[in-house]
């Protein structure tokens, strides 16, 4: 090998090595359950392990049914949310009104999304619609929507509040659709309220407005955001796949064909 080729190889390897060291790693992240088990595991003396809980100080994720109930009761004081069940893949804090499909599905997908993000719109309008038809309705995938409003978007927190409020009256699907469909309009005007009003009746809209004005929704949005931070979510959309004890966080939009191939491979994995 010539000197030039060796030099080229060395430069490329140096760049790649450096970047890989700075990145979050080359292996799938451990599951939420594994992380929380560590965080909540008591030490030999029966005391909670402070070093373990310090490792993941953000969301205190319940792992046992009793813990789930306790967390549910605690969260009810902050938000008038519905019960907090766990699915087959052990994902806590799931609002059933913001989740689609069977909780016992072999694959769970958490989509960290921002209503004002164009790539989230693309994912919702193209991929997720086909996903709902082909995988969610057939019981193969449990799809969970998570709020991850980015600070760079002026109206995304307001939109997330309306989405949450609509979820509490069982109208999340309609509001999600109208917000994404009209994203360019309300992004310019900031009229999230008017956009949501177009998808709901006057009575429903009154309930949504009351919930938004109540100011109790931010805690739930923050909970989702903290959960996203635990997965190192740095962009939207980020989809976290849970299957057979493995967790795969993926940043960016994806076509349905690509996703289909991946889901089929995940399902066929032993």
């Amino acid at each position: 090998m010539s000197r030039r080729a060796l030099l080229a190889l060395a430069v490329v390897l140096a760049f790649l090595g450096g970047r890989l060291l700075l990145s979050r790693g080359v292996h799938p992240a451990p599951t939420v359950r594994a992380r929380t088990d560590r965080a909540t595991q008591p030490s030999s003396s029966g005391e909670p392990n402070p070093s373990a809980s310090d490792a993941h100080p953000t969301p205190a994720l319940p792992t046992t049914p009793a813990a789930t109930r306790e967390a549910s009761a605690a969260s009810e004081s902050a938000t008038p949310a519905t019960p907090v069940p766990q699915d087959a893949n052990g994902i806590p804090d799931v609002d059933p009104h913001k989740a689609f499909g069977s909780k016992s599905a072999p694959i769970s997908m958490e989509v960290f999304s921002d209503f004002q993000c164009p790539a989230c719109k693309t994912l919702f309008m193209t991929t997720n619609r086909q996903l709902l038809e082909s995988y969610v309705s057939t019981g193969k995938v449990y799809l969970i929507h998570r709020d991850f409003p980015l600070p760079m978007h002026a109206h995304s927190v307001v939109a997330a509040r309306y989405g949450r409020a609509a979820a509490q009256i069982g109208k999340f699907e309609q509001v999600e659709q109208v917000l994404f469909q009209n994203q360019e309009k309300w992004e310019q005007t900031g009229d999230v309220d008017g956009t949501v009003a177009g998808a709901l009746s006057a009575a429903e809209m009154a309930k949504v407005r009351a919930l938004v004005k109540g100011g109790t929704l931010d805690a739930a949005i923050d909970k989702d955001r903290k959960l996203g931070q635990m997965y190192n979510v740095s962009q939207t959309p980020t989809t976290v796949f849970h299957c057979k004890g493995q967790t795969y966080p993926y940043g960016g939009a994806m076509s349905f064909d690509t996703l289909k191939q991946f889901l089929d491979q995940l399902l066929s994995q032993k």
Partner: protein
């Protein structure tokens, strides 16, 4: 014994240009393929990682609103490989005039596109590397510096090529001077 190349200003600029631009092009291409999603194993997970990364890059290309979504997909699936190939060719130094010219052309193209987006106050990601990076004035400055380096390097490569190279033809050079 082979005579070593005397280092002058032009050759120093060519070397710097080759190392900097070649390295950046290779890194930019590879980062678009394997960042931000770096799950490498098993093989179907790696394929999915690359597909998602290229889809995200296509979104960024489309956000410049210059070409159609289909053309953006095509560009996103070709450009990273072209960047890697051109970067490697520049580092290796084979047919330097051709590849230096190609890299200069691409850099000037990038600069034009980025400057247009900046002047139009487009709130988009630059798409320069694999990870999301907001397009700002700094992006324009950085691309201008790289384009200028590429241009100067290419001019110097052509100027150097007009003279006999001390590595490849020392005897020939001495024969010419004898006559």
């Amino acid at each position: 014994m082979m005579q070593s190349s005397p280092l002058n200003f032009r050759r120093a600029v060519i070397w710097i240009g080759r190392l900097v631009l070649g390295g950046i092009f290779v890194y930019a291409g590879i980062s678009k393929l394997i960042f931000p999603n770096t799950h490498l194993w098993p093989m179907f997970v790696l394929r999915f990682s690359i597909s998602v990364n290229l889809s995200s890059f296509a979104q960024q290309v489309e956000s410049y609103k210059i070409i159609s979504p289909e053309a953006s997909q095509m560009v996103a699936h070709i450009l990273p490989f072209v960047e890697i190939a051109l970067g490697l060719l520049l580092l290796i130094g084979w047919r330097l005039r051709i590849w230096a010219t190609a890299i200069t052309g691409i850099m000037v193209g990038f600069l034009a596109v980025v400057t247009r987006a900046y002047l139009l106050h487009m709130d988009i990601n630059c798409g320069c590397f694999g990870t999301p990076e907001k397009l700002t004035g700094w992006t324009v400055v950085r691309d201008s510096a790289f384009a200028a380096l590429a241009l100067v390097m290419t001019i110097f490569v052509f100027l150097e090529a007009r003279q006999p190279h001390p590595w490849s033809a020392p005897e020939k050079a001495s024969l010419i001077s004898d006559h």
